[in-house]
Symmetry: C2
Subunit: 372 residues, 2 copies
C-alpha cells in the first residue's frame, strides 16, 4: 500500500510558448501558450517519461498541491507520487493543459482558445478561434515534451477524454509511445450515443441569450447555460448509487417539502446545482463547445494498425457515460488490428468519476503493465 | 402469435367532466375535464376492466387509430386488442389522460392543468395551478371509472410513470385492484438519481426567457427550452445500441463534415433535434414541470403493506433511465412487505422505450398473470 507516502508535495505550473502552431485543419494559431506540470525527474537517458492526458473538464493539475492551504490535491494524487503506481521516484510525469481548456478562467490554467486574445484584433477570439482536433492536442503535447528534451514516452496515461488522447498519441506517433493506459475509455471512435449526449451538453450554452453567438467577453457571461451544461456533465459522470448513498431522498430543507412548491428541492438537486455553479465559475462556455466538438469527432479506428504500443484499458464497472461495453469494444478492435491489448475493470459503485477517485485498486496491475 | 389480428381498429376520445376535484393537498380544481379511451366491453358483472396508466410524455391513446389515415396507432397497440395480451375480446381496457398532461396542445388530449383556463380569471392558470401528486392522478382515474360503473379492476397496467401510478392505485385503493403490471418500473419511491435527472429536464424550461415564470400563454412559447427538455427525455429513454444501429457516425449531410464547423452535425444529433422539436409542438412547458415534480415526489414505500394486489414487474434489460436494478429493488421491497411480486425481464436492445415497443415478448407471461 502507498498511503503512507505524502505524494509529490507542492507543485507549480510552468508555461510553454510558441509563436505559431499549425493545426491539422491547416489553420495557424499565433502566440500559443500552454501550461504544464511535472513531477519527478527526467533521467539521463530521457526514457522515463509518462505523459498524463486530462479529461474533458480537467487540467494538467493531476497531483500535488499549489500551496499548503489547498483543500484538494490534483485529481489523480492517489495514482501519482513516490511509491505510487506512477512512481515519481522512477518516472518523470508530465501533464499539459489542452487547447481550449474548459477551465480557462482558473488562474492556474494556461491555455489558448476562444477566450484568448486574438493578436490580430486584440480582442478575445470567440468563434473566430479555429476548431481543434484530438490530434492537435497530441501534436501540441509533443512540442511541449520536445522543449523538455523528451522524444519517447514510457507511457501515455489518461482518463476519459485523456484515454482518447492516449490512443491518438499511439496512432499518430507510433514510435514515440511504448504503453497506453486508457482509463474509463470510450470506443476507438466516439460512439453515436455519446455524440448525441454531448450535443445535449452544448445546447444550454447555445440557447443562453448571453452566449450571443460566442461574443460575450465584453458583456454578461452565459452563466446559466454554462452551469446547466456542467450539471449534465456532472450527472452523466455519476451513478445512482452516488445519489442514493450520499443524499437519499432528503429535502434540501426540512421546512420546505419538495412536493409542495416548484422551487422546493431535494438535497440531491441542490447539491448538483451547487457543483455545477461552482464549476461554471472558472469555466468558459465557448471552450466547452470546442472541446465538445473535438470529442464528438474523435476517431482512430482507421489507424489502429499503426499502433505499436501495448494498451491497458481500465473501465469502471458502473460507468453510465463511457460504458464498460465501450472499453470491451476497444480491446476487441485493438486486438483485431494486431495490437496487444488487455483490460482490468475497476469495481466501483459511483460511475465514471470513479476512474479518478478509485484508481488505487489498479495499482498492482498498472505497476506490472509499466514494468512489462 | 397475435400478429394476424388487426387490433382494436378505430377509436375515439371520450370526455369526463366534474365541477370540482379536491386534491390531496387540500386545494380544489374547478371545471375538471379529462379525456379517456376504452377498448372492448365491460361485462355484466363489471369485473373485467384493465386500467392502462400512461407514461410521462404519454396520453390515454394506447391502442388503435383515430382515423384510417393515422400513421401510427396508440403506443401499446401490440399489447392491446383481440387476441393480444390485454385481450379486448375478454377485457374492458380503459386509459385516461392525466392532469397536467404534457401533450396538452395535442387536439386529441383532454386535460386540466396549467394551460387550462382558470374559471376565476378566464385566463390560463400558469403557475397558479396547484401542484398535483401521483395519488391525485389515481383518484381522478377512480372517478372516471366510477362514472362508467366500475368499482373494481382486474388489473392496472402501465409503463414507466404508468407503473408508478399502478403501484399508487394498489396502495391507495387496495380492495379495488387485483393485479399490477409495472412495466419498466422505477423504485417504490423515486430514486435520488432520477430526481436529479428530472431536474435537468426542467432546467431548460426554467431558463428559457420566454418561460416568463410560467406566464407565456399570451406571448411567445418557451419552445427552445421545451425542445431541449424533450431532447434530454428522449435520449435518457434510449440506449447506445439505438444510436449506433440506427445512425452510426454518419454526418447529417455528406457535404458538411461535423468536425469542420460548429453547426455541422452528425445524423444522430439532427435526428434527436427533430424528434425533440416534433414532440415540443404539442407539449406545454408548464405541464412538463408539473409532471416532473409529481414524479420526483412519488413514494409508496410506507404503504406497501396495504397492497393486496399481486405485482408483475417487467423491466427492460438495457434500460438506462429506470434501471433493471430499480425493478429488482421494487420486487424485493414488495416481498418484504408481504406482497406477491414477480419479475420478467424484457431482453431488448434499445433501452427504456422498449417497454413500449418490445412488450410483445412478454405476451405469454402477461396472459398467465392475468389468468392467475
Amino acid at each position: 500500500m502507498t498511503t503512507s507516502h505524502s505524494g509529490v508535495g507542492l507543485v507549480s505550473k510552468r508555461l510553454f510558448k510558441t509563436d505559431e502552431f499549425k493545426l491539422v485543419s491547416g489553420r495557424t494559431i499565433r502566440n500559443v501558450q500552454l501550461g504544464y506540470e511535472t513531477y519527478g525527474r527526467l533521467n539521463e537517458r530521457g526514457d522515463n517519461t509518462i505523459l498524463v492526458t486530462h479529461y474533458f473538464t480537467g487540467t494538467s493539475h493531476c497531483a500535488g498541491r499549489y500551496t499548503d492551504a489547498d483543500l484538494e490535491p490534483g485529481y489523480w494524487d492517489t495514482l501519482i507520487g513516490p511509491g505510487r503506481a506512477l512512481d515519481t521516484d522512477r518516472f518523470f510525469v508530465v501533464s499539459i493543459d489542452s487547447f481550449c481548456n474548459v477551465n480557462s478562467l482558473d488562474p492556474h490554467v494556461m491555455t489558448t482558445g476562444p477566450a484568448s486574445l486574438d493578436p490580430e484584433t486584440e480582442k478575445p477570439y470567440g468563434l473566430r478561434f479555429p476548431l481543434i482536433s484530438m490530434q492537435d492536442l497530441v501534436r501540441s503535447q509533443r512540442l511541449v515534451l520536445q522543449s523538455l528534451g523528451i522524444e519517447k514516452l514510457h507511457a501515455v496515461c489518461g482518463p476519459s477524454m485523456g484515454a482518447m488522447q492516449a490512443l491518438e498519441w499511439a496512432a499518430t506517433f507510433p514510435n514515440a509511445v511504448d504503453r497506453v493506459l486508457a482509463v474509463i475509455p470510450g470506443n476507438v471512435e466516439s460512439d453515436p450515443y455519446l455524440i448525441a449526449r454531448i450535443r445535449s451538453w452544448m445546447m444550454p450554452i447555445l440557447h443562453d441569450p448571453h452566449w450571443n453567438n460566442g461574443d460575450y467577453y465584453d458583456g454578461p457571461r452565459p452563466e446559466r447555460g454554462l452551469a446547466d451544461s456542467l450539471r449534465l456533465i456532472t450527472l452523466d459522470a455519476l451513478h445512482y448509487n452516488w445519489a442514493d448513498r450520499t443524499f437519499g431522498r432528503r429535502p434540501q430543507s426540512p421546512q420546505r417539502d419538495p412536493a409542495s412548491a416548484l422551487e422546493n428541492l431535494f438535497a440531491v438537486e441542490s447539491a448538483v446545482d451547487d457543483i455545477a455553479c461552482m464549476r461554471a465559475r472558472v469555466a468558459d462556455a465557448n471552450s466547452v463547445l470546442y472541446i465538445a466538438k473535438m470529442v464528438q469527432a474523435f476517431n482512430v479506428r482507421s489507424r489502429l494498425a499503426d499502433i505499436r504500443a501495448k494498451v491497458l484499458c481500465l473501465p469502471v464497472s458502473t460507468d453510465l457515460l463511457l460504458f464498460p461495453a465501450y472499453a470491451a469494444a476497444t480491446v476487441t478492435a485493438l486486438r483485431e488490428a494486431g495490437v496487444r491489448a488487455e483490460s482490468f475493470t475497476l469495481e466501483s459503485p459511483f460511475g465514471h468519476l470513479d476512474g479518478l477517485h478509485h484508481i488505487v485498486q489498479a495499482t498492482d496491475t498498472i505497476r506490472r503493465f509499466l514494468n512489462a
